[in-house]
Structures are given as C-alpha cells and as structure tokens.
C-alpha cells in the first residue's frame, strides 16, 4: 500500500488553489493519474489481431488444401437420396421435425428461441459476474443456457451422426452405407 502513495505525482496542498498555467512537452498526457489498466492498441492489440488473422487463415488454408468441398451428383428431382439431410446447422430443426408437426419443430420453436435469446439481457438484469467466465453469481443463467446449448448441439449430433436411411436411428458404427 505504501506504493500507492508514491504514485501521487503531484501532491497538492489543501491551502492553495491551482490553475493550469502551461502545457509542457512530455511523452504522456496522463496528468494527475497513476498507471491505469490500459495499454496502447498499437501495437499490443493490433499485433495480436494480426496474429489471430494469420492463425485463422492458416487453419482454413490447411483444411482447404487437404479436403475438397463436397459435390455430389447433379441435382435430380426424380432421385431422392436416402436419407436426405439438411445442412448440419439445420439438422437440429430436422430432428425436431421428425417428432412434431413441422410448424412446431421447424418454425415455432426456433422463432421463440430466437426471441428469448434477444430478450435475455432484459430479464437478467443483475450486474453481478460481468466479465468473469462461469461466474458463481450466475449459476442459474449459466445452467439454463447450458441446457439450451446441449439441446441445440445434441440434436445436431443426433441428426448428423445417428440418423440413417428412412430417418431411422443407428449407431455410427452400424450406419448402413448409402448406395
């Protein structure tokens, strides 16, 4: 704590008044303040951002050099593949469709989920636990959100890996190969 006292750059006398007399040539514009918790964007932030870009591009480039993007036979309306699957990010929807009337699984639930997501900050208004991963004060919120994530990802996993011909359930190792 004694350090804190050292940081008072310009101790003021309570008996005097002070006015700004002159601007001096210095390297810092920090007047009347000790070290703060900020760093200059350049180079600290920008250089890291550049590094991240390079990392992202390298990863994407490696994947692209190793694996070709899928391209099946030309579209043929008279020849439905079995199973016919939506893109993976919509497989959760397709999975829900297989249980319910398409409207409930495919339109109603996703719309409600999106609206609830947008409204989350207006329900959860406490200012506790901001900026901390898995803050203990936010157990309930985190739990609810985790349920949502597990459901969303779980349904996609089921649709992608466990659904075979005729939308039947199979274990991945029993999955019949498509003709």
């Amino acid at each position: 704590m004694d350090k804190k006292e050292e940081l008072v750059i310009f101790p003021k006398s309570p008996n005097k008044t002070y006015g700004l007399m002159e601007l001096t040539k210095t390297k810092s514009f920090q007047v009347e303040s000790g070290p703060d918790n900020t760093v200059s964007s350049w180079p600290h932030l920008f250089f890291r951002e550049l590094l991240l870009f390079m990392g992202v591009f390298i990863a994407l480039m490696i994947i692209s050099l190793l694996f070709n993007a899928p391209l099946e036979e030309q579209a043929n309306p008279s020849n439905t593949p079995n199973p016919a699957k939506a893109p993976w990010y919509f497989l959760g929807l397709q999975e829900m469709l297989s249980w319910t009337h398409p409207f409930w699984g495919g339109i109603f639930i996703p719309t409600v989920v999106a609206i609830i997501l947008i409204l989350v900050p207006y329900f959860d208004r406490s200012q506790k636990g901001v900026g901390i991963w898995f803050a203990p004060e936010r157990k309930l919120a985190n739990l609810l959100f985790t349920i949502f994530v597990v459901l969303a990802v779980g349904l996609i996993v089921v649709g992608e890996f466990l659904r075979g011909p005729n939308w039947q359930l199979f274990w991945p190792w029993n999955m019949p190969s498509p003709h």
């Binding site: 250089f47 890291r48 550049l50 590094l51 390079m54 990392g55 591009f57 390298i58 480039m61 490696i62 050099l65 391209l71 099946e72 036979e73 020849n79 593949p81 079995n82 498509p178 003709h179």
Partner: protein, 267 residues
C-alpha cells in the same frame, strides 16, 4: 513470444501459399501431354515436323452442345486422332473407325461414359466420388451402340446383336414390354430399364460387384436368387447369353439422341 509466433506464422503462410501454387500448377494431365509430345518427337522424321511440335500444356475440349457434353478426354488421350499412334499403349492409341464416329461431332462420353469435364484420371473415368456413370469396360461399350443403332444386327457389336436376338428367341417379349419392340404386360416394362439409378436396385443378394450391370447379369443367371418370389423363370442362360441380354437391357435408356446423330440417317 508474440514475435516468435509472428515469425512462425509468416513462414507458414509462405509455405502454404507455395503448396497451393504448386498444387495448382502440377496437374495430372500435364504429365500425359508432355509424354505425348516426347513420343511425337521420337516419331517425327523430318526436321520440319520436329520443329512443329511445341511442348505447350493446355486443356483440350470437345464441345457437343447437341448432346449437352463437354469432353476433355483428349487432354490426355492426345493420340486418338493421330494415325501415327496406332501401335501405342492405350492411353495414346489412335481411335479406330474415326471416319464413322468423328469425335468433333460425337465427343467421347456419349459412347464411353465417364466424366467428360474431369481432368484427373480417376474422376474422368467416373471412378471418383459421386458420378453415376463410370466408364464402360471391355465389351460393355456395346451398350452405347444400342442408343443409336436400332437394327437387329449391329456391325461391330456382336453381343448387343446377340442380346436382341435372344430377347426375341427366348420369348421374353411375351411378358415384357419394350416400346416399339414387344407388348407383354406380365413382367415389368423394360423400355427405359437402362436409365434406372444404381440405388433403385436391391443388392442384398448380389454376390459380385454392386453395380447395375452385375445385378442384371446375376438376375438373368438365376432370377430367384436375386429377387426371391419372382415369377420370372430361370432360363438356364450361359454366361455369354446372360451378358448379351444384360448389354441389351442396359442399352434401353431414356436418353434422347437428336435425329442427326442416329444411325442410318444422313447428316
């Protein structure tokens, strides 16, 4: 640490772009073209001929808009229209009877099948992922003759002709309908059986390769074994007869060949 990472990433960038450029430049077909030019140079007799051979790599293609085809087969098979290459191995060999089927008019895949636009060996021959039409092998090429040549006897296609003859002789016409040939209505219609997709057949009882050709072949050899409960009798066909009939069946396609491409029509 940050700078070390920057150094590593920078070098990785250079390496990856190098690989991409290399991969793009080194295409399979270039090797075949270069080999062809070398052989051509060896065969050239006069200095003039030798001077005219340029080692220029480029994709060659035959466009046949009438048949909706673009065939790049001649990118590698460069000797097909060069009469000097009659004795070369099959990659460069001169194509027989070019005057009857000039490929600037017909293209290649209309008879041979395979993937005309592809420029890699595997994909072009229809053997790489998601291509419904692999190249016909050996005598199965006769299937394609049947698309345009409609007579009983097709010169150069003995198995196809034999198959057509067998269809009439073995009484197939009594049960099966083929538009313009027979009118049976007991068995399934066969007018476009050659256009059926691979996945429309049940291969659980097929012993050999899971191809349409093999399904039909095994079905001819023993109908009950491939489709239990069928009323189609076992005709005790020999291997040759079954193959001939298979070729005939496969030649019955939906494909619409324009008038001027069909046999016996001048144009």
């Amino acid at each position: 640490m940050t700078y070390k990472l920057f150094f590593i990433f920078g070098l990785t960038f250079a390496v990856l772009f190098g690989i991409a450029a290399y991969q793009n430049d080194k295409r399979e077909w270039k090797k075949y073209q270069t080999d062809y030019f070398k052989m051509e140079l060896k065969k050239a007799t006069t200095t003039e001929e030798k001077a005219s051979i340029k080692f220029a790599n480029e994709i060659k293609q035959i466009m046949v808009p009438d048949l909706k085809r673009v065939d790049r087969c001649t990118t590698c098979h460069m000797g097909v229209d060069n009469p000097k290459f009659g004795d070369e191995n099959k990659i460069y060999k001169t194509h027989p009877n070019l005057d009857q089927h000039p490929f600037e008019k017909f293209g290649c895949t209309v008879c041979h099948k395979g993937q005309g636009r592809a420029t890699t060996v595997k994909a072009a021959h229809g053997k790489a992922g998601f291509w419904e039409e692999p190249m016909w092998e050996k005598e199965y090429i006769q299937v394609s003759c049947g698309k345009c040549h409609s007579g009983q006897e097709v010169k150069g296609a003995p198995l196809l002709s034999f198959g057509r003859k067998l269809f009439a002789e073995k009484g197939c016409a009594g049960c099966h309908k083929i538009e313009g040939v027979s009118a049976g209505n007991i068995g399934p219609e066969l007018t476009t059986v050659g256009s059926k997709y691979k996945h429309e057949f049940d291969y659980t009882r097929v012993k050999g390769e899971h191809t349409v050709a093999n399904w039909i072949y095994e079905h001819f050899k023993d109908p009950q074994a491939v489709t239990p409960g069928t009323i189609m009798p076992n005709m005790n066909l020999t291997d040759e007869e079954a193959k001939a009939l298979t070729i005939y069946m496969l030649s019955l396609t939906k494909e619409k060949i324009p008038y001027e491409y069909r046999a016996g029509k001048k144009g």
